[in-house]
């Protein structure tokens, strides 16, 4: 059984790296979905417990939601907003790859340092979960569009789920279900929000939302009682 787990691990790591390199949003959506489905399969290969009915239910649920519902929702949102198909990263793909490899090394090192007080099926699961979390965070920070930030968020959750699977026996499934529900709602709302942002601003470029901030730099005047006054004057001009 361990070999199967190892294979899945390798696939997931490649998935993560690919995510960093992927240049099209659709590709990213499929990758994240694939990653989720793979993670959903993971509990099947865990020995020791056998396949309990609840395991079965959860596995199917997760595979369904992550593998099918999310990509459908996201592709629908993508179709609705009609944006460019490119990812538009703030950090170029090659640099992202290099950072990704560093993140992988750091994850392995972290695993060495943080000894968990449990027995784990595969040595690769913990570093993989760190790696996935890092990649998810990295994606949310460096990708321009709101929809790619949603993808980063899902990746982040995938990492947390991988961690959860690895400590299956101690980890209450209820918590896992709660997180899943959280993410589901988040994706749902973000999908709607992305649509509305696009409707309002003609783009879903989260970078351009900066002009919504509620203050402006006053070069000469740091503070005065007339601060609102001068701002409104500018507006009227």
């Amino acid at each position: 059984m361990e070999t199967y787990i190892e294979i899945i691990m390798i696939i997931l790591i490649i998935c993560n790296l690919w995510l960093l390199a992927a240049s099209r949003i659709k590709q990213c959506i499929y990758l994240v979905a694939f990653q989720g489905a793979m993670l959903g399969l993971l509990p099947f290969f865990q020995t020791g417990h056998g396949i309990l009915p609840r395991t079965f239910i959860i596995v199917t649920g997760i595979t369904l939601i992550k593998g099918f519902v999310f990509p459908i929702l996201l592709t629908k949102a993508l179709k609705d907003v009609k944006v460019k198909a490119e990812v538009e990263p703030l950090v170029s793909h090659s640099v992202s790859m290099i950072i990704g490899i560093f993140a992988l090394i750091i994850s392995l090192w972290l695993d060495e340092r943080l000894q968990l007080p449990l027995t784990i099926e595969s040595e690769l699961i913990i570093p993989l979960s760190y790696f996935t979390i890092f990649v998810g965070l990295f994606l949310t920070v460096t990708r321009k569009k709101a929809i790619t930030q949603v993808l980063g968020y899902i990746t982040l959750e995938n990492g947390i789920f991988a961690f959860g699977v690895s400590i299956l026996s101690e980890h209450p499934w209820l918590v896992e279900m709660g997180i899943l529900l959280d993410v589901f709602v988040a994706v749902f709302i973000m999908g709607i929000m992305v649509f509305y942002i696009e409707k309002e601003f003609d783009h879903i470029d989260a970078d351009k939302l900066a002009h919504l901030r509620d203050w402006k730099i006053h070069k000469n005047k740091l503070f005065s009682w007339d601060i609102y006054h001068s701002e409104a004057e500018e507006e009227s001009k």
Binding site: L114, V141, A206, L209, L212, L222, W225, H229
Partner: protein, 657 residues
């Protein structure tokens, strides 16, 4: 007690309903106004009934909050303030039916009634709260609603600015109160009023209360929000804020004093000193104002100062156990609370009527309104007379009581304390004179003469719902002046129960006070009768003569114009020059030099000294420090996420280091 809570709840609910029905303007306005008018009247009847029964009500049950029980109660001190609050709110509600009519404010009808009802409900909750947490929650709601009410007209820059200044001031006040209640609760962590056992020196608590409540009351160093917020709020809200809400500060101070045991002498001295600064300082600033409502706001600070002097003298008497000084001092303060509520709300409602009719509050654009709005002008005159404490009206009685207490104090108290009282007497006299000048300017420039701009040309008396509340207030101003001997038992009962005095002591004092007071009443009534007699005699003489109308004395000009009239600046200029060292007046005078007069002008400008030389530098320093952090808030979501990520990673590495 349950009934009262129920009605407060009903008041709140009607506000919420009105808010949610904001799409249907008429309905929303009807629900809001009827809800508030009906519940407020019921509450008013209940509280008057309670007061006459001489019985304290309390109710306490546990609730899902820490620090004690949900404790409410009504004693005469609460009831005194509740009756004033409800009465003024009721009149303001009537007034706002047409002042804030749905045709005028459109979409904001729902919001207005929601905020209005919440404000009134929270004020009552503040007054009946008997638990520190409940008190603070109610206090906070009461402090927050005016922020939205001031900025109700939110497309005006000045309104937004005023609202923010108000918000900052209110929050600073709340911070002090939080500290105060934590210290009062002490180690037991029980904030029920009945279980307060102050463990640290009561002087510190008194100072905290003085600052925390003083910001709300508007004592002079802490007053900055008041002249900003009051002019910008809708007029009936200014009336409530000025007549009732700032009195909550006074209530708070009184309530805290009851927890602190016997006061020390310096408390009274401090309060008198604050009162002197507030009254004299504020009336000087008031004189220099061009904005009618801003002038009234400063005058509110002045009157709060007078109340503080009364309270201070009362406290001094209390700390030296001179009961006559104490009772008369407090009586003066309590009476002045009532009287100022009546006359100041009358004046604010009046100013609102003027603003409603002309669309401006700047006195230099008004003038000559007395011909267009005779009723309003007459009522404003009554309000002015009563606020400057001229005999037939109410404030005279209360200031008379404060003078009386002062002289009692000077005779009875130890030498050191008498000095401050003598200064208080002098400054009270000065304040009286200056406020006479101030209000004669306000009335003269606004209502007399000729119209200075076409804005006041089209003015007219307001509708009945706006006029009647003002008439009621004006009549009460007169009644409280004339019938003072019958009214003093109301505040006296409050004083008795607040400080747990013997009923015999009170009745003894009462007979002593009644001697001069009834004399005053008799003199007043005979004066009124005499003036009526004179009036009718003159009218008879005048009727016989032929009446011709002409311009006022025109200095020999052939074609006098409205711009040649006295302006408010020129009216007040001699006094301003006298107080120049304090006010820092800037004048801009282009006099006439040639034989043939050409264009000439005179301008006068003052700044609020405290705002200019203390608050502005202070907040400038603040913003200088915090501006360093401004680039962090750049509005890019990615970088915000980066902050979170880097914090997480740093924490992780810090942990496994």
């Amino acid at each position: 007690m349950y009934i009262i809570l129920f009605f407060i709840f009903l008041l709140f609910v009607s506000g919420i309903l009105s808010f949610f029905l904001k799409k249907k303007l008429r309905l929303s306005s009807q629900i809001g106004s009827f809800g508030s008018i009906i519940t407020i009247s019921f509450l008013l009847i209940l509280s008057i009934f309670n007061f006459s029964r001489h019985k304290d009500l309390t109710l306490s049950f546990s609730w899902q909050m820490p620090f004690g029980n949900f404790a409410v109660g009504i004693d005469p001190l609460s009831n005194f303030f509740i009756i004033i609050t409800l009465f003024i709110s009721l009149l303001a509600a009537f007034y706002s039916v047409s002042y804030m009519s749905p045709e005028l404010i459109k979409k904001k009808t729902g919001a207005h009634w929601f905020l209005f009802n919440t404000l009134v409900a929270s004020m009552i909750m503040v007054l009946i709260a008997r638990n520190g947490l409940l008190f603070l929650i109610s206090w906070e709601i009461m402090s927050l609603t005016p922020f939205f009410l001031v900025s109700l007209d939110d497309n005006k820059i000045s309104a937004r600015k005023a609202a923010f200044i108000y918000l900052i001031a209110a929050n600073i006040g709340s911070a002090f109160l939080l500290l105060l209640f934590i210290l009062l609760g002490g180690a037991s962590a029980n904030l029920d009023f009945s279980s307060f056992k102050p463990e640290i020196s009561s002087g510190i608590l008194f100072i905290l209360a003085l600052i925390g409540f003083g910001i709300k009351a508007g004592f002079l160093p802490f007053h900055v929000w008041l002249p900003e917020a009051h002019p910008e709020a809708p007029s009936h809200i200014s009336a409530i804020m000025s007549a009732v809400m700032i009195k909550m500060g006074i209530y708070g101070i009184l309530r805290i004093i009851t927890f602190l045991g016997l006061p020390q002498a310096w408390w009274g001295v401090t309060l008198i000193l604050i009162g002197i600064i507030s009254s004299v300082g504020a009336i000087l600033f008031a004189m220099a104002q061009k904005d009618l409502k801003r002038l009234l706001a400063y005058s509110s600070i002045e009157n709060i100062g007078i109340i503080a002097i009364g309270l201070g003298i009362g406290l001094l008497g209390m700390s030296f156990m001179y009961y006559s000084v104490m009772i008369i001092g407090f009586l003066g303060a309590f009476l002045h609370i009532i009287n100022h509520s009546l006359s100041k709300s009358l004046l604010f409602l009046n100013a609102g009527a003027v603003y409603h009719a002309t669309g401006t509050r700047n006195m230099n654009e008004l003038g000559g309104i007395i011909k267009k709005m005779p009723m309003t002008s007459f009522l404003f005159l009554i309000g002015s007379l009563s606020i400057i404490a001229v005999p037939p009206f109410n404030a005279f009685i209360s200031e008379f009581m404060i003078y009386y207490a002062s002289f009692q104090g000077i005779i009875n108290l130890p030498k050191n304390e008498t000095i401050i009282i003598i200064i208080a007497v002098v400054s009270l006299a000065l304040t009286g004179g200056l406020s006479l000048a101030c209000f004669s300017k306000a009335f003269g420039i606004t209502f007399l003469g000729f119209a200075r701009s076409d804005k006041s040309e089209k003015a007219h008396d307001p509708q009945k719902t706006m006029l009647y509340p003002m008439i009621v207030l004006a009549i009460l101003c007169l009644i409280f002046g004339v019938a003072a001997p019958f009214i003093i038992s109301f505040p006296l009962e409050t004083i008795r129960s607040t400080f747990n005095l013997m009923p015999e002591l009170i009745s003894e004092e009462k007979t002593q006070i009644l001697k001069p007071l009834s004399l005053v009443s008799v003199v007043i009534i005979s004066l009124i009768a005499l003036s009526f007699l004179l009036f009718f005699m003159l009218k008879k003489i005048r009727d016989k003569r032929q009446i011709s109308e002409t311009v006022t004395w025109d200095c020999g000009y052939i074609a006098p114009s409205a711009t040649m009239q006295y302006t408010e600046s020129s009216f007040i200029e001699p006094l301003m020059r006298l107080f120049n060292p304090i006010l820092g007046v800037k004048t801009n005078f282009h006099p006439i030099t040639d034989i043939f007069p050409v264009k000439s002008s005179f301008m006068l400008k003052t700044h609020d000294v405290f705002k200019r030389y203390f608050y502005e530098p202070f907040f400038n320093l603040f913003s200088l420090i915090f501006n360093i952090f401004r680039p962090i808030q750049h509005g890019r979501i990615h970088f915000y996420l980066l902050y979170i990520v880097s914090t997480l990673i740093i924490l992780l590495f810090w942990k496994i280091r």
